[in-house]
Subunit: 348 residues, 4 copies
Amino acid sequence: MTAAVLHGAKEIKIEPQPLPALNPGMVLLRVRRAGICGSDLHYFEHGYCAAFVPTRPFILGHEFTAEVAALADGVDSVKVGTRVTANPARSCGFCEFCKAGRPNLCRKIIMLGSASTKPPTDGAFAEFVTVRADQCHALPQEMSDELGAMIEPFAVALHAVKRAGVVSGKRVLVEGGGPIGLLVAMTARTFGAATVALSDIVASRRETAHKLGLDVTLDPSAKNLAGQVREIAGDGFDVVFEASGARPALRQAFDLVRTGGTIVQIGTLGTEDVPLPANLLMYRAINFIGSMRYGDVFDEAIRLIAANRIDLRPLITGVLPFADAGDAMRLAGDKNQAMKVQIQITKE
Amino acid sequence: MTAAVLHGAKEIKIEPQPLPALNPGMVLLRVRRAGICGSDLHYFEHGYCAAFVPTRPFILGHEFTAEVAALADGVDSVKVGTRVTANPARSCGFCEFCKAGRPNLCRKIIMLGSASTKPPTDGAFAEFVTVRADQCHALPQEMSDELGAMIEPFAVALHAVKRAGVVSGKRVLVEGGGPIGLLVAMTARTFGAATVALSDIVASRRETAHKLGLDVTLDPSAKNLAGQVREIAGDGFDVVFEASGARPALRQAFDLVRTGGTIVQIGTLGTEDVPLPANLLMYRAINFIGSMRYGDVFDEAIRLIAANRIDLRPLITGVLPFADAGDAMRLAGDKNQAMKVQIQITKE
Amino acid sequence: MTAAVLHGAKEIKIEPQPLPALNPGMVLLRVRRAGICGSDLHYFEHGYCAAFVPTRPFILGHEFTAEVAALADGVDSVKVGTRVTANPARSCGFCEFCKAGRPNLCRKIIMLGSASTKPPTDGAFAEFVTVRADQCHALPQEMSDELGAMIEPFAVALHAVKRAGVVSGKRVLVEGGGPIGLLVAMTARTFGAATVALSDIVASRRETAHKLGLDVTLDPSAKNLAGQVREIAGDGFDVVFEASGARPALRQAFDLVRTGGTIVQIGTLGTEDVPLPANLLMYRAINFIGSMRYGDVFDEAIRLIAANRIDLRPLITGVLPFADAGDAMRLAGDKNQAMKVQIQITKE
Amino acid sequence: MTAAVLHGAKEIKIEPQPLPALNPGMVLLRVRRAGICGSDLHYFEHGYCAAFVPTRPFILGHEFTAEVAALADGVDSVKVGTRVTANPARSCGFCEFCKAGRPNLCRKIIMLGSASTKPPTDGAFAEFVTVRADQCHALPQEMSDELGAMIEPFAVALHAVKRAGVVSGKRVLVEGGGPIGLLVAMTARTFGAATVALSDIVASRRETAHKLGLDVTLDPSAKNLAGQVREIAGDGFDVVFEASGARPALRQAFDLVRTGGTIVQIGTLGTEDVPLPANLLMYRAINFIGSMRYGDVFDEAIRLIAANRIDLRPLITGVLPFADAGDAMRLAGDKNQAMKVQIQITKE
């Protein structure tokens, strides 16, 4: 098969690779469309991502639409020919976290297109990829390949919103207007948040948010921020999602959240400690909640998109042919121009 | 002042009445627009409502928009001239239920326009009515009087949906296409339910639901109901709201709910016991939940309407002048023609 | 190996059986001590249990302590020689329920010692039994075999108490003084319920409850029951667990539960519908909750027993040698004499 | 009446004071026994407490047993002669927080024996004090005055444990062995936590914890702390309560809590920001929760003590006569000798 192999920083080669082995319980998928995630970009730009350093060249990609091409013996939960997306995080299914319905915390998790394992696990920027049968989630016929490849990032947002408890009827602020921040804001609106504000220090991102129909955007560095917040949310937001990964944004969340409210951390912050007002958290009874990837929300994500409860198409900047995977990475890395860039891996 | 006084079954007279006394902590409201509720109709048609038999002629009405006309000494939480709606249920504020955030369960509750107290408590089908200051909820300038008078029935639906836990992303069925059933269905959609089906045995009500944009309607007596449900919701609905008050509908809810799902009872069923599959409830781990009126959801209801998260105007059949209050009751009682009928009590 | 094989109603034979096959992922356990459950008794007395009719002679037993005797290739989560108890319900690990942390609702569940599958699945009244590796839960060295065999029934109670939400600080009633009812009552006390009352129509069962140190026992047929309840729990119990499986007990639960309170159904009731006050459930905002077997609470159960938070030994009526398995069944069936009867299958 | 009036740092005078006015809705209480809280000590030692600087001499004390001495007109929820304790925090009853069952977050709260209001609000180190009727909680006849005066600090612990979600069956660490830390640890045990460890840097406090029967104590500065934790709690504690108010203890909580676990902040930390590992909170899905005083848990606290679910007597260091209130303060301030010191204000 053909794959886009990462050989090091900025070095992606479209080259032949052996077909992945079809081990027991596994399914071979022919990838159709794949999206580029922020972590793919980190690998591409630096050759590694945070603490994850690949021990050999490997294939990125974990947001995608595919078609079931072959099944290991005995697999009967999916059928050859079915169009699916996949939960790229394969949890063990049997540890305390898996059995408690928190598979995202499983210590044995194997992530597609990631160097979190040694050797790294090949991903979906390839004609074929394998996943365990239960990782597959069938897509309805009407759902386009491009939307199928949006399910995974949507799942991140969906999980974060669930971690907040209930957002319906609440006043919500999302800090950070990147793809995940926008997805969280759109999800909060879909779930009936009464107010959804988005803050970003970059004006063009605030404009994008406006175009996506969000109620209000805020410049976190504005002098009259407190006054703006008072007008929008009275004594503060019921829920603040920190999706920027900026340390000052997290600190600011504690000033903008309402007494008794909730802050959800989604953005990656770097490993250094962040000075935070723990005393204020105590006497104002704030909940500060970490949100890590997603639980089993893929079918729910599919249902919501299929029912037109949320329209993710405006987030898709464009699609490039597989041969131009390197260009696609470069385009995705241009934060002024790009939201979600996709790659057309194979066609029908 | 002038009021519409209920003297007995079908007997409403527009007649002069003394202004209500402005006791400590209370606020005098000039009523502008009021809606007619199913319980108003019960009183009008029978002279009483369930176990509540009035001991003297009294004034109905508990869904309304009003203007603050006067304040008892020391009241400073509202201002004269402010346009408000009111939570018609005055809870004591200090019992175990009130302190636990469940004021709807307060045993000392005093309900406007109801014979649940002896003597009955006069309501809002009058030029003036009094409420305790905290019962007032200010309306935004842009919100029309007609929508202000919809807040109370919306609060019933909002509370019911909250009692279900989370409906976002879920498959929801509402049984019963009257005003409350429709409000519940619309609220579930606003809160991001992926599927919202409504069942009613009356075809015209299903048509109304369709016009309101609900995904699917079901005839509970259809022969192929099971097949229809399978197509819409697979192995059943995650949440079923029983809003019809029909005993067979409640029984059917247990067949249509998914294993591990939730049934919420909102409809009034009559006092006789209903045969229910308690063993199935056990081995399928079903939650069967009673929803009674509302907690303190009025400000949230106002926020949601003000932010256009939900549009309640299509539920309003029409408005009649105060002089025709009796006709308004008769129109409201015609279930083939009417959803929500309102009365214009006073004008600006 | 030797096993106690059920050939039909009242017909248990201790006889040679082939060793169970050690399929992939499985573990062979040498059973040491096993307890007799109510469902074992149903099979023994009638030859079947509810809708579960065995298609061949099979081996009962699903509450036990065992020693790991052999492992299928590749199994490394347990070690040969480790003393364990097992969760007898093998869920698939990958369906929507399993992934949501509700494995008890998995449709593919395979239950040891049960005819819920065709053919039936052999259980633990045998020298050897096989389970999937993740079904094993290691026991601490200090924990006796007899307590290890109590973990499974304790898990039933633990799950039921969790289904009630929080019982800590609450007023709790348990209806039914059989082993599960007593376990639920003891668990509620361990979890800090302020009041734990137990009702049973049989005086000897109320005496047993007293001996186990429960606060109060009630005779559900007592004339002054309402007065007794008022003294113990004021306006009613916050939580009522229905563990008797008696229809009148369930109906009574609705009279004894507090407004806003919770009823948990654990007892098996028979398939006929039970007339229940659904209108009262609505206006008193009652939660009626089904509790089915258990989620993944085995390690928690072991921790609680190991830490002496609960002492289950008084529930064990006695232990009989394997050769007398039939007598053990007969003793267990004598509800005046027996609580939990155990069988010594093998020794160290 | 006679009162212990704080005139400034270390200056308490037993002197005559006018009887407090009995305003509408209020109750006059004759104080019998009162306890000394950490905040009382702060006022005594510095003349102020954190940001709260008294504008005139005032009376401390908010943990006490009293007898109802007189009622304002119309008060009928308590009776003269009833022995009570009081919730010293008078919330407004009508704001969004009060109506949501979170009265501790009410912005209009008036706290007995505190300079959080201007002028300060007199407290219970006096023969008489007034509270609103609903602040009174009747004590059972069998409960001693000394235990009645422990209800308020117990309420702090009870609320903190509730904020953690469920502790039953969980592995719990409490950081800080002062009165509140010990109360939290004892409450967690009462609520069925499987493991309750207490850490304190002071050896004598660890000894006290041992005497109170806690499972394990830890020295947070021990070199082999990680090893000790592994033995007690495996991969970490499910819940960590930070009750020491020490910044390093809070930081350490993030290392000792399990993935997916919860940290509850109860200790007062000072206003400076604390460097915290927000990135770790995110990828390990930690909940960091502030706990502020208490909601309406007083009746529950009384029930738990009355039912002997928890024994708070070992926490009471001793009682001094009213004339020696100053000595009582000095004794309470000696952290090596004292836990809870009480004052006998009046007798029967």
